[in-house]
């Protein structure tokens, strides 16, 4: 396999790259990222690339990827900060993906496209099921924050090409990766010594480790067929337990106070947790059912979180 990995300088990109290089069946990994040149190694080359520029995407795919005979593309480049909004962020999250997909479909050697989406695309409602399968409703609320709307649009952009393009496309709707520098809302939430949650609600939460998320991406890259798959992590527990196991103090607070309190926190400390992004999840949970990924991809979460010492 010859693989192009975008977003290679993110923690997930780094872990995916490392895993791919341990597989002798992988002949070459072409990494693309926003950081300056990282250096090449045997079977590994790096290309700095701003995917928001159509020309850069074109040159990456028709130049380097074609030259290396890339057959599989893993697109991990996604804007991670929930504080940033606007057309520039939309271009990075959605337009870059659309351009990359179109370019990949035009290169004859490229046969497979893997896109790790997010479980945040699902609509969470009190009347919804506790376990969301891949057919569950997506969040189309026009009032939803751009962070969510971008992820839904990106997910559907990829799904819409499934069966319409010669590429075999895999979308992995992954549980929240509880790790630093991954744009994890919960990681940021748990950085405070006191964690406020809505009074009267203690939903079940599932989180995934970086290792398991990367393992799912590598499995999807090497699998046959295409489809949408939920990828859940090894840790499923109530929000209050998650807070306690992280060594934080769990303080239930009337729900209407939470959004302003966390806005104040964000303003004062620069931290990224936004209650409006988590409003429904912190009341109604919304675990994902990964039965399809287990059956088709052979996925099993085997790396529980490394919990901090109390």
């Amino acid at each position: 396999m010859r693989i192009l990995v975008t977003g290679a300088t993110t923690p997930l990109g780094g872990e995916v790259g490392r895993r791919l290089l341990t597989d002798p069946a992988v002949e070459h990994v072409l990494e693309a990222g926003a950081e300056p040149f990282l250096g090449d190694a045997p079977r590994l080359s790096y290309r700095r690339c701003d995917l928001t520029r159509e020309r850069a995407v074109h040159d990456l795919v028709h130049g380097d990827a074609r030259a290396h005979g890339v057959d599989t593309v893993i697109h991990l480049a996604l804007h991670r900060s929930a504080r940033d909004e606007g057309p520039r962020i939309h271009a990075r999250n959605v337009l870059a993906l659309r351009q990359l997909l179109a370019a990949c479909a035009a290169v004859p050697t490229i046969a497979r496209f893997v896109y790790p989406s997010s479980a945040a695309v699902y609509a969470l409602r009190a009347s919804g099921p506790a376990l969301l399968d891949e057919d569950a409703a997506l969040e189309f609320d026009p009032e939803a924050p751009q962070w969510i709307r971008d992820r839904v649009e990106a997910d559907l952009t990829v799904c819409a090409r499934m069966g319409m393009s010669r590429l075999a496309i895999v979308v992995l709707r992954t549980a929240e990766i509880l790790a630093p520098d991954m744009g994890s809302q919960l990681w940021d939430y748990l950085r405070s010594r006191v964690c406020l949650r809505p009074l009267g609600f203690d939903p079940m939460i599932n989180v995934i480790s970086l290792e398991d998320a990367a393992a799912a991406v590598v499995l999807a890259a090497g699998a046959r067929g295409q489809g949408v798959y939920n990828v859940a992590g090894a840790d499923t527990l109530p929000l209050s337990r998650l807070i306690a196991r992280w060594g934080r103090r769990d303080v239930p607070v009337p729900r209407p106070l939470l959004a302003p309190l966390y806005r104040l926190r964000a303003g004062a400390t620069g931290l990224e947790f936004r209650f409006d992004l988590n409003l429904r999840r912190f009341q109604f949970g919304g675990l994902i059912d990964d039965a399809r990924a287990r059956a088709d991809l052979g996925y099993r979460p085997t790396h529980p979180l490394r919990w901090p010492r109390p």
């Binding site: 527990l237 949970g285 990964d290």
Partner: protein
């Protein structure tokens, strides 16, 4: 997401499918269930003085659907059934609640910890595939709010339980709950008050449930699935006929239960 097979706990806790941190995917915590059973023990034994017959029909393992009559402002009947099933089989019954319950603060969490599940099709499918014992009240909120004059008359009868039984090849066990329909009847409904998505605010005829004796009668399991292939669950005529069969069986069980109560053949002073 899957979880370990249901298993009894070494410290005597009820069996459950641990999703990894001592809770199942719906939020059931067997320690909380045991605490709730102890806390409600006096209500079960001394206040409502619950007795039951036919508990040998409760399977020790595997999925089954209990179908019961429903009445009484708040689901006290569901709580007594839950306690009785735990007392006789050691299993945690998974009552299926109306969808609006998940939006109720505090109630949603307490219900989740003791095994109540919101009644979406996917939730119930998941429970049956996991071999759980579930309880469905096909009368729904219509039953809870039935007027006193309608006591023990089965109201609008939903068919979901019959569809599920046929599709998932599980037995249906009718349960007549005698006592609940006199204990706390609804005086009237405030339809204008729709707190947290509830269809109305029930105003009961008494401030607390009256200490009426409860008698639970578990009927023989009905194998609705024996007569139909799984796909027949989608046929509305078949599903309605199967649901009617359950309704008739439950109505007979209720009639027998009421007759036994009149004759003084059940219960007795404790």
């Amino acid at each position: 997401m899957t979880s370990a097979p249901a298993r009894g706990q070494p410290d005597g806790l009820p069996a459950f499918r641990d999703a990894g941190h001592g809770y199942d995917v719906f939020g059931l915590d067997p320690r909380a269930a045991r605490r709730a059973a102890r806390l409600c023990g006096p209500l079960y034994r001394r206040y409502f003085r619950v007795t039951s017959t036919g508990s040998e029909h409760l399977p020790a393992t595997g999925a089954a659907i209990l179908v019961a009559n429903h009445a009484g402002t708040l689901p006290v009947d569901g709580a007594m059934l839950w306690l009785d099933v735990m007392a006789h089989s050691g299993r945690v019954l998974r009552p299926v609640a109306d969808l609006f319950v998940a939006a109720f603060p505090i109630v949603n969490t307490v219900f989740a910890r003791i095994g109540v599940v919101s009644g979406t099709r996917q939730n119930v499918r998941h429970l049956l595939e996991a071999g759980e014992l579930i309880a469905i009240f096909p009368e729904g909120t219509t039953g809870v709010a039935k007027p006193f004059r309608e006591r023990y008359r089965l109201q609008a009868w939903r068919v979901g339980h019959a569809e599920l039984a046929i599709r998932h090849r599980v037995p249906v066990i009718p349960v007549a709950i005698i006592g609940s329909e006199e204990s706390w009847p609804v005086a009237f409904k405030l339809r204008g008050v729709r707190a947290f998505g509830a269809p109305y605010l029930p105003i009961p005829a008494s401030p607390v449930p009256l200490p009426v004796r409860y008698h639970l009668h578990y009927g023989a399991p009905l194998a609705l699935h024996r007569d139909h292939p799984p796909d027949a669950a989608d046929d509305p005529v078949i599903a309605a006929a199967a649901a009617e069969r359950v309704k008739v069986a439950l109505a007979e069980l209720i009639a027998r239960g009421l007759e036994a109560r009149r004759a003084g053949a059940v219960g007795g002073r404790r």
